[in-house]
């Protein structure tokens, strides 16, 4: 794959990840409001696991492309220092999605929701508590990163007159 193809693929993948992120985020906001015993809860939770897994897989691929074909500085007005900061925040966002996916898989597995071996008991309360906590940590982490990417973008607009920025690179 050459750099141009990789850039196109990366850009498309970023949009897919953005859409998936919005869907998972909306689902995450709705999920706690549904009583646990209700059938809707199961549907929403299964949907969360499915879309979350997809987001995890796409983020892994996006991070791989990032490392193989790092995004280049297209804005000449933006100093290298400023670009570095934005670049690290954006790369960290994909790392947060990957970590979020991994902890989510462990949480679901230790809650008995995902069974790779039929009939095997996978319920593990301590692991569920720990991975659930970390799943929440990475949730807050990516929200904080997105917030700072937006703030950094506004700062670049004011300071360097760079009028275009993207959250997902």
């Amino acid at each position: 794959m050459n750099a141009i193809k990789a850039e196109r693929l990366s850009s498309s993948l970023s949009w897919v990840i953005f859409v998936l992120f919005v869907v998972v985020f909306a689902n995450m906001l709705e999920l706690p409001r549904i009583p646990i015993e209700s059938p809707d809860k199961d549907s929403l939770r299964n949907f969360h696991i499915a879309t979350g897994s997809l987001l995890f897989a796409c983020s892994c691929f996006r991070a791989y492309l990032w490392l193989q074909y790092p995004p280049q500085r297209k804005q000449g007005k933006l100093p290298i220092e400023a670009y570095n900061q934005l670049h690290i925040l954006q790369f960290s966002l994909y790392c947060a999605f990957i970590a979020q996916g991994l902890t989510g898989i462990v949480t679901a597995w230790s809650d008995g929701l995902m069974q790779f071996l039929p009939g095997a008991t996978t319920v593990h309360h301590s692991l569920w508590v720990l991975s659930g906590y970390l799943h929440s940590v990475f949730g807050f982490f990516y929200i904080a990163i997105i917030l700072f990417i937006i703030l950094t973008g506004f700062y670049h607009m004011i300071r360097y007159r760079v009028w275009r920025f993207s959250i997902f690179a």
Binding site: A3, P32, R33, I34, P35, I36, E37, L67, Q68, Y69, P70, P71, Q72, R73, I80, E81, Y83, N84, Q85, H87, I88, L89, F91, S92, V123, H125, S126, V129, L130, G132, Y133, L134, S136, V137, F138, F140, F141, A144, I145, F148
Partner: protein, 183 residues
Amino acid sequence: MPKKMEFYLKTAKKRHWLLVLILFVISCYLPYLIFGAYPFANKTNATPDEVGLLTQNVSLPDFYQNNLDEITAKQRKLEEDAFTSWDGGKCRFCHSIKRDDRDRMAPNLHRILGKPAAVSQNFTYSSALIEMRKNGLIWTPETINAFISNPENYIPGNRMRMEGIKDPKTRELIINYIERESQ
């Protein structure tokens, strides 16, 4: 990796990563701060013998021998909604109640009435609640009512992050539901 491409992760300085690290450290604290969650659940709080000692000199009714009034399906639904729904007490989002339910983010409440505070296994209680156990707090309809009306006021420093259920009728429905589910 293509050599002509600039690899910004390598040219970045420590201070560029520092912001990410700070954000991560803050994020590690937020589930505890906002939800009262705790990452470990392996703290054993009281042995059955200790629980027996805590209640041996206390005269309590047997909450589970009481023959509760028969209620209509509508009334039962009201009790369940008060316990489970987002508009009610939101209890079910952290607590399980059925006999065979697993502990969730907070301890199972099956047969909680008549138990001393902070004695469930598999749950790391706040120091505040453990202190209340040592001071002799036992869960009864009255103490639960006082606790859920304003948790932070009743036990300052506890980890149940909710502002309290102001409506006395909702609190009554919740306590009835706990009692009924524990029969």
